[in-house]
Symmetry: C2
Subunit: 177 residues, 2 copies
């Protein structure tokens, strides 16, 4: 039950069409809540039926024509309610860790190469986040909204840092005699 809220947040930040949202879910919002265009169109339909958002008046056909949405008061209220409600952290689910555990019973063939590959991917993501931090959060910006967006980015940076460190250490550990 979070995709609708991710969409409401994105639309409040800036009214958009389905495709524009899809693009934004490949960056920004997508860094901590990813979604494909199929999911987004389906959810936009539901949100519109429920009166949480509305399409900006733009007479004409449905197919092939850009359709911009904006959030209605009911949608904003629902987002505020959801944001304030307490939620438990979700238990971890990670295939790489599962594969290492499986490797303890069926052998490490293939896993080690993938550790290297993941290390590179996480290093790249880390570099990208650090670039964004430098660009969007220069020292001195400290309105509450900026601080909130900054701590979220910080979580991304710290997580990628964790992965690169853990992977480096794990690769050494498994290659040791």
């Amino acid at each position: 039950m979070s995709l609708p809220h991710a969409i409401l947040t994105a639309l409040l930040e800036k009214p958009s069409s389905g495709l524009e949202l899809t693009r934004r879910f490949d960056k920004s919002i997508g860094y901590f809540w990813s979604a494909t265009h199929q999911q987004i169109y389906r959810e936009l339909g539901k949100l519109e039926r429920d009166g949480a958002i509305r399409a900006l008046p733009r007479q004409g056909v449905t197919r092939g024509q850009k359709k911009e949405y904006e959030v209605l008061p009911a949608g904003r209220d629902e987002l505020a309610r959801w944001t304030a409600a307490s939620q438990d952290p979700k238990p971890l689910r990670d295939t790489l860790l599962l594969r290492l555990r499986a490797a303890a019973v069926v052998g490490t063939a293939g896993v080690q190469e993938d550790l290297h590959r993941h290390l590179v991917l996480h290093q790249r993501q880390l570099a990208e986040y650090e670039e964004i931090e430098k660009r969007d959060f220069p020292p001195g910006k400290d309105a509450v909204e900026d601080r909130l967006r900054h701590v979220v980015l910080r979580a991304g940076i710290d997580l990628e840092t964790f992965w690169t460190q853990w992977l480096t250490r794990t690769i050494e550990e498994l290659e040791a005699p």
Copy 2:
């Protein structure tokens, strides 16, 4: 497509019944791949139909009677194949981060209390993992299988460490003047 492989791993570590598996998915394996008993029974049925596992002979009724499963060669082969195959890391999906981003548009009401609550939960989980490390991985155990299981536990410890640090810092940051 990972639940069957999690179950195969668990069954190779030790043949078990559905309920025993459910219990083990609340600890151990469940620390990085959780599953409910409904999922487990459904998946056991599929794995048995596919010839990956079999129920140990135990004549009698089906309902209410314990049914132990063991992995067949086909199941072990499939697990080895899956473990060796390269897989991309899944993009992050975290509701707490999404809520903070939403809070930048609808206000921080309610979120701050939840940050405190999550901090306590992550501290508890961290303590539990450290307890397990002390108990199960005393210095000197270094067969490959032990090393593999140890690095997985290490990932859990490092992740919980990340969360506690990030939450502490974030709480300070948001409570600052």
